[in-house]
């Protein structure tokens, strides 16, 4: 199996709005209008989001190193892809994520300490999906996209009875996930049903050690056209381009124009998870190159150009990040661990004879042992 070269960021048809080396936003006929409401204040809030989610991520990595978490999947480098897209959708929309979308969950309003419960090993979820309209981590690669399409089909049905309904479903997944049959089936079902769903691929160049060239020799976005679906490739380290593109795709879905596949080209600057050692499979040079494309620096240069990057602003952002990080750490250390017998709690929603029997034996055994 030959490994094609990794996809290039600078493909001509990649949407980008933040200039790479400072200066103001690029104008784009199609996408700029989607940023009409992004004034200076909003730009600063976006910057804050980027910094805060990176800080949460760093704190979680630290907690893992200290043994407080069993594992952590860092989003370092993917902040713009996640913040931009999360800001491009609405609270009523439903997100089917994978396992790395901590920033999306945070922006959808989850208590950030809940995000860590999963990685600590205290739960398989962390939050109630209906509280923030977002699923908890989906670990089996390729499993969540079909569910998103089904949910979107449900929205379509609801909308037939109530024309005030314009929700959509959004699903996140990685470049590796695009090889799974479930992904293609999801594109097929979405295209043939015209369901209001946005497929958001974070192409961070790697599936653990596998460079994206192992999955595909052409840009992932191209997959869409095979199903007659709209596809857009966007610079995933450009938070504003991601925001605009997501809003565009979401609006298409909302107004009945069907699904869109977005490929956000970004880079996983950290390890796959805290168990991973990326030096075994990638060069220092590559990482160094992508550090020059850091999504936070990228926005910062525009803030600087506009004179918004005042010491005051930057200090306030740092303070906010510190506060959230402290909250996350505190929440983690205060985690109330599940009771042993919780194993039996929610296997079924209705009584089940075997579960009752095993639970009784379990309690008996452990009570017996304690006496």
């Amino acid at each position: 199996m030959s490994i094609a070269t990794a996809q290039q960021l600078d493909t001509a048809d990649t949407v980008t709005l933040l200039t790479e080396h400072g200066g103001d936003l690029r104008e784009d006929d199609l996408f700029s209008p989607y940023l009409a409401d992004i004034d200076d204040a909003e730009l600063c809030r976006i910057y804050e989001d980027l910094v805060v989610v990176r800080r949460i991520d760093a704190e979680a990595t630290a907690l893992q190193r200290q043994g407080e978490l069993a594992l952590w999947a860092p989003l370092l480098g993917q902040e713009a892809a996640q913040v931009g897209s999360a800001r491009g959708i609405r609270p009523g929309d439903f997100v089917f994520g994978s396992y790395r979308e901590h920033a999306v969950a945070y922006l959808r309003g989850v208590d950030p300490t809940l995000i860590l419960r999963f990685w600590r090993g205290s739960t398989h979820s962390g939050w109630n999906p209906y509280d923030i309209n977002m699923t908890t981590p989906a670990i089996v690669i390729g499993s969540q996209m079909l569910q998103a399409v089904g949910y979107a089909m449900g929205i379509m049905r609801d909308a037939k009875r109530d024309d005030s309904i314009h929700d959509i479903a959004v699903t996140y997944f990685g470049d590796g996930a695009t090889s799974q049959g479930g992904f293609s089936e999801a594109l097929g079902f979405a295209a043939s049903s015209h369901a209001p769903v946005v497929f958001f691929c974070q192409n961070n160049q790697y599936a653990i050690s596998a460079p994206v060239g192992i999955q595909t020799s052409v840009p992932i976005v191209q997959r869409a056209s095979g199903f007659g679906m709209r596809g857009i490739r966007v610079d995933g380290n450009d938070v504003l381009a991601v925001l605009a593109v997501t809003r565009y795709a979401a609006e298409r879905a909302r107004s009945g124009d069907g699904p869109t596949l977005i490929e956000a080209v970004t880079y996983r600057m950290g390890p796959h998870t805290t168990s991973d050692d990326p030096t075994r499979y990638r060069d220092a040079d590559e990482l160094a190159l992508w550090k020059t494309r850091d999504p936070i620096d990228r926005l910062l240069r525009t803030l600087e150009y506009r004179g918004l990057a005042t010491d005051e602003m930057l200090a306030a952002v740092d303070a906010k990040a510190d506060a959230v990080a402290a909250e996350v750490r505190k929440g983690c250390l205060e985690t109330v661990e599940p009771r042993p017998e919780s194993i039996f709690d929610h296997v079924y929603s209705e009584p089940h004879s075997l579960i009752e029997e095993e639970r009784a034996e379990f309690l008996d055994y452990h009570r017996g042992g304690a006496e």
Partner: protein
């Protein structure tokens, strides 16, 4: 039985407008066994949906629909075609309620015509129930007669837990007068003593209940009194009903089409051998498929348990003193 299922599905669609049917060829064609005949015409293509040809896609999207509040009933066209959906069933459907600590329920019913005996080609005569019964988070039931078919399918659809609903396809053409106004008198997960007896208990389910009854009849004519239990639910299993029977008869034969090795009978034999250790007068015997793939139809009668093989096991059990 196909008609009874059709009536049960119609009733469910009528009772609850969140119920919807999904599957390959279930709409315009009414299903290859006509179980969904006319339902698309009656309820519309939005509620009786002809899907693309992808079982994983069917179950995956149905899970999403369930999360949005719908109650999908998915048809898998034949037993052997459920495996492409295995991941969605075993890693998603079965686990979502536990994963979310009860926050999300997935009231999905998967209808699976199963079993052999209809002279079909490869992959059309499988008995995959043990895979699902071994999977925590799923419920697995199967009907053996039109009455149960009518009642149980409605109960399954009303359940908030995911239910695998196995339909014995060789019994689809069995006829009976089904009272469409009767509410089910038995719980979905209860076994039923079909005929009482005192010498030996035969436990069967789905397609094999009729076989067990025929064997019991023949045994009766030779003076042996067999108690036949229709298991109905394969997960959970109603062991209390089996226990009670074995306490009385002291002998047990379990019959199913699936391979004996790690089939449902293994769990029954294991558990009853434990629970009734001092009541059993003979080892629990199992009659079932061999540890081979389901054979070509010209020799399927040698693979499938039949009345003679059940009688042989009964004799062997009774021979133990």
């Amino acid at each position: 039985m196909a008609k009874a299922l059709n009536a049960g599905l119609r009733r469910s669609l009528d009772d609850d407008d969140r119920v919807m049917l999904m599957g390959e060829d279930i709409g315009r064609l009414g299903g290859v066994f006509r179980v969904t005949d006319q339902l698309q015409a009656e309820f519309g293509a939005d509620r009786v949906v002809d899907t693309p040809l992808a079982e994983s896609g069917i179950i995956g999207t149905a899970i999403g629909l369930a999360m949005r509040g719908y109650r999908p009933v998915c048809e898998i066209q034949f037993d052997g075609f459920i495996y492409p959906a295995f991941d969605q069933i075993v890693s998603q459907l079965a686990k979502i309620h536990t994963r979310t600590e009860g926050a999300v329920t997935v009231p999905l019913t998967i209808r699976v015509p199963y079993g052999g005996g209809i002279g079909a080609v490869e992959h059309h005569s499988e008995s995959p129930e043990a895979y699902f019964a071994h999977t925590a988070g799923l419920r697995v039931v199967t009907c053996s007669n039109p009455d149960d078919a009518f009642g149980m399918i409605q109960q399954a659809i009303r359940s908030d837990d995911p239910v695998l609903f196995f339909e014995p396809k060789r019994r689809y053409w069995d006829r009976a007068d089904v009272d469409l106004d009767a509410a089910p008198t038995v719980g979905l997960y209860d076994a039923r003593v079909v005929i009482a007896g005192s010498d030996l208990t035969v436990v069967a389910y789905g397609p094999m209940v009729a076989t067990a009854l025929a064997a019991a009849k023949e045994a009766a004519s030779e003076g042996t009194s067999i108690e036949v239990i229709d298991l109905r639910s394969l997960s959970p299993i109603d062991f209390d009903t089996i226990d009670r029977s074995v306490a009385k008869t002291g002998r047990l034969v379990v019959v199913h089409e699936a391979s004996v090795f790690l089939g449902i009978g293994a769990e029954i034999a294991a558990r009853i051998s434990e629970r009734c250790f001092f009541q059993l007068e003979a080892p629990v015997l199992r009659v079932g498929g061999y540890a081979t793939p389901y054979p070509p139809s010209k020799v399927e009668q040698y693979y499938l348990p039949d009345v003679d093989r059940v009688l042989d096991a009964i004799d062997r059990s009774l021979a133990v003193e």
